[in-house]
Amino acid sequence: MQAAQTQQEIFNRRLPIVIIGMIVASGYLLLQLVGFQAIAPEVANELRPNYNRNIRLAAARGIIYDHSGQRLAENTVEYRIGISPNLVSDKRRVATQLAAILRLDELATYEKINSAEPWVLLTPRVSAEIGQQVEALDLQAIDIEKIPRRSYPQGTLAAQIIGFVGGDLQGYYGIEGYYQDQLTGRIREEVVSDIPFDLPDDQTPDEGSNIYLTLDRDIQYLIESELALAIAETGATGGTYIVMNPRTGDILAMASWPSFDPNAYANVEANVWRNPAISDEYEPGSVMKVLTVAGALDREVITPDFTYVDQGELAVGGIVVKNWDLRAHGVVDVRGILVDSLNVGAATVSLKMGHEAFYAAMDAFGIGRPTRVNLEGEASGTMYIPGDPEWSESNLGTNSFGQGVTVTPLQMLAAVSAIANDGLMMQPNLVARVIDGDRVIESQPTFLRRAISPEAAHIVTDMMVSVINDNDSLDNGAGVPGYTVAGKTGTAEIPSPIGYESNAWIMTFVGFLPADDPQVAILIKLDRPTTGRWASQVVAPRFRRLAERLVVMMEIPPDDVRHALEANAGVVGG
């Protein structure tokens, strides 16, 4: 009885302890359950120790190459270095090491490392070499951010085509501006876990596309050298050279003066960043006569046998059009209009066409509309047509020989290239291929429209060959021995608010060769040269000098060899 009493007392003492223990255990389990299931994820993240950190993966901008794979624009890396002071155990030693590598004051570095801030910037930019030395220390507290920097290894070469990348990492002008979206990679924010069991992510950022241009850097160097020489020799204030494949519209080289170094773009005035070859409009002068005659022949308004009596002047819409030499040339045929570059002849043809046919022909050649070349900042040129308030009847006469109408150098070359390409207008193009990761996007020649018939194109080409071969005014000649060259000069006055400037001209030469199978079309334009009055004196010799170098570089054989090769094995490629 006593034992049973004792056992009952023990039981009574233990029971509350067991019940309390079970309640506490159940409560704990319940709390854990709520913690896992019911608490919002963001609250749970706040409560949980922070084993994750965000990192910013800056993507590399795409590289720009010339057609043979030479780098025109690339990326170099600079480092931004910071430190988390609370993760540094031996602050004095780390300060000494970092100060030596980063060439900082040791005491100032120590003060930064000893601060109570969670993160301190040590240096905003150091070279890759120094950055790698810091990386080699392998200190967990150091935060190294790689900052991409755009670099242009060729310096000033093709600067106006490439453009540049500003401090905001945006591309401006040229290819950098036009292909900003493709070139720039995507900056990615990623969460990185410090838990050793979590599989590390492959932190490769989404890099930008690489772009291969149609540009040939050797030809580019050649025309830039020739342009600089021409500027020095003629006293011109500016100029443009363009070399293009008339069959495909591929631009092989394009240079304007003055230029700049994209590595130091801020050292020049902003207007130098523009590419005058696509953004400067000018009155083309007599080169326009080629388009007038081509349009008239294509529309059968005239035939190759067409003649007129040149009296030296012609009244059109209240103004009097005169020849450049102020002379009457008597009976002149169509070929004579181009060979002797007669304004009266061109105006006679345009009047015979009428404004509807004339402006339709000019539109077919792309006058007054952008070429849609893949470069930023292209101008469209200006051509007033009937119905525009600025248009008058006299425009029909003056536009025929390149006055009262403006074009860009590339527009003019594209139009003449259509004649070289059997009348087919190709879109000027600077990009050969875009490589986006594993995808290669090859650029194909883009056919815009038929400007004139093949027959009309061949007749006009033949006339342009006569311009080179039969023209006494081409003092030093534009022809290249052994090659048939087709071309046309243009000497245009420069319009001002009160008419035209006196003693200032823009001189151009547009031509292509070999005339019967054109492989290269060239435009040379010099602004305000002071060593001659006519393009035939100033620009034509420079065309010849350039063409002579190009046939060597592009391995274009002389006509007799080419014809022999063609007879032997078909078409010869340049």
Binding site: Q7, Q154, N568, V572
Partner: protein, 161 residues
């Protein structure tokens, strides 16, 4: 006055004996052994994953460093191959520009410069290097055992040194 629930609980606790039974002890020891085995396997696996992840991280870092190093070298090559530098170097070495009249083109009978070319089929690297999957359960167990013994060996070696 006692309720039926109190009776049931009191009866259950009253019958509880506080002495160890041999069978219970054996079961406990067995449970503990199984728990130790599972724990050891878990720790081995976790250590193995952590080690592999660390190695992977090192490899990724090394790859990134090498890629950057390559890029730097490519950049240096581009600097050395600029047309300005090549041209001046060629002139220093005595090269001269070929002139148009110095070039002789040869017409070879029957030679077609636009002849057809044959493109070789290149095996894709990723597919060619894929290892065959031949893992078995026995192999996996053997791998776990090897990992387990290596952990102990590493531990005893580090402890002894």
């Amino acid at each position: 006055m006692r309720t039926p629930t109190q009776d049931w609980l009191g009866h259950a606790l009253r019958n509880t004996t506080w002495r160890w039974r041999q069978q219970t002890l054996a079961l406990g020891v067995l449970g503990l052994f199984v728990a130790v085995i599972i724990g050891a396997l878990y720790l081995t696996q976790a250590a193995s994953i952590a080690t592999l992840n660390r190695q992977l991280q090192d490899l990724i870092s090394e790859r990134n460093r090498l890629e950057q190093s390559n890029e730097q070298i490519r950049s240096e090559i581009a600097q050395l191959r600029t047309v300005f530098r090549l041209r001046s170097r060629a002139l220093e070495l005595g090269f001269v520009e070929a002139q148009r009249d110095q070039i002789e083109y040869l017409v070879i009978e029957g030679y077609n410069p636009n002849r057809q070319t044959t493109q070789l089929q290149v095996e894709r690297e990723g597919e060619a290097n894929l290892p065959a999957y031949d893992e078995t359960f026995g192999g996996w167990l053997q791998q776990q055992w090897d990992n387990f013994t290596r952990q102990f060996q590493d531990f005893s070696q580090s402890g002894g040194s």
